[in-house]
Point group: C2
Chain length 139, copies 2
């Protein structure tokens, strides 16, 4: 396996509702999106997808499970951006499960759950290097 993630697909109860939440946060659905699946092209060259839970279970050949076992982190450039994005997510129907604060390992972060319960960490992490596409590098 080469070190690469190509798509990250979230199981959702209602693709339209989930799509509206992420559009409200500022993401723009890509052209191949349709009522059954929504795609968001991410700047580093991977895709965030929203797919009906039953459709995903059928495709994967397994039950979908309960959200939270995977946490998606979105890094931002300041503490103020962490606070603003958590507030925006809450206003759109997300639930803040961890208010913003400094972790013992030196990251200012908070978490929200999207309307389907998927866990997002919004983080200001001074320890990682950024590139011009928004990518992060550990060293």
């Amino acid at each position: 396996m080469e070190p690469r993630l190509s798509f990250v697909t979230l199981a959702v109860a209602d693709v339209g509702r989930a799509r509206a939440f992420y559009e409200g946060l500022g993401l723009v659905a890509a052209r191949p999106s349709n009522p059954s699946v929504a795609f968001f092209q991410l700047s580093q060259g991977l895709v965030l997808a929203l797919f009906g839970a039953q459709d995903l279970a059928q495709d994967a050949g397994r039950p979908v499970g309960a959200p939270g076992a995977v946490a998606l982190a979105h890094n931002v450039r300041s503490e103020a951006e962490v606070l603003a994005l958590l507030e925006q997510a809450a206003a759109l129907g997300g639930q803040v499960t961890r208010p913003a604060g400094w972790a013992p390992w030196g990251v200012f972060r908070g978490y929200f759950a999207d309307p389907d319960g998927h866990a997002w960490e919004i983080a200001y992490n001074p320890q990682v290097r950024w590139d011009e596409d928004g990518g992060v590098w550990l060293d």
Copy 2:
């Protein structure tokens, strides 16, 4: 929210066991990894992390849930690579939940669950454009 994913963290029962599985698949743990957390730098500028389930629940302020609500897709360049990687995952203790085959939407794919149950789709998708870093672009 800018269109970016920075870290994808998988809740695991045993960081050492999970790390060994992904190292067996060919990933190389990054220098900041330790017994409590493992990091894999991905080529597009994001990080795959393995973190103890209780640690993640505590950090996120919420229960971890059951794996499967998020599917991680790893695209490869041929049908043969899909078959080989599913076979390798199974040999390392993964469970193939969907044997490889063509989906109605024109993707040759199969799924496996890692030792903690996280869902991976291995896919040959002739419809996306690749860049030199392994990134995929919808158009």
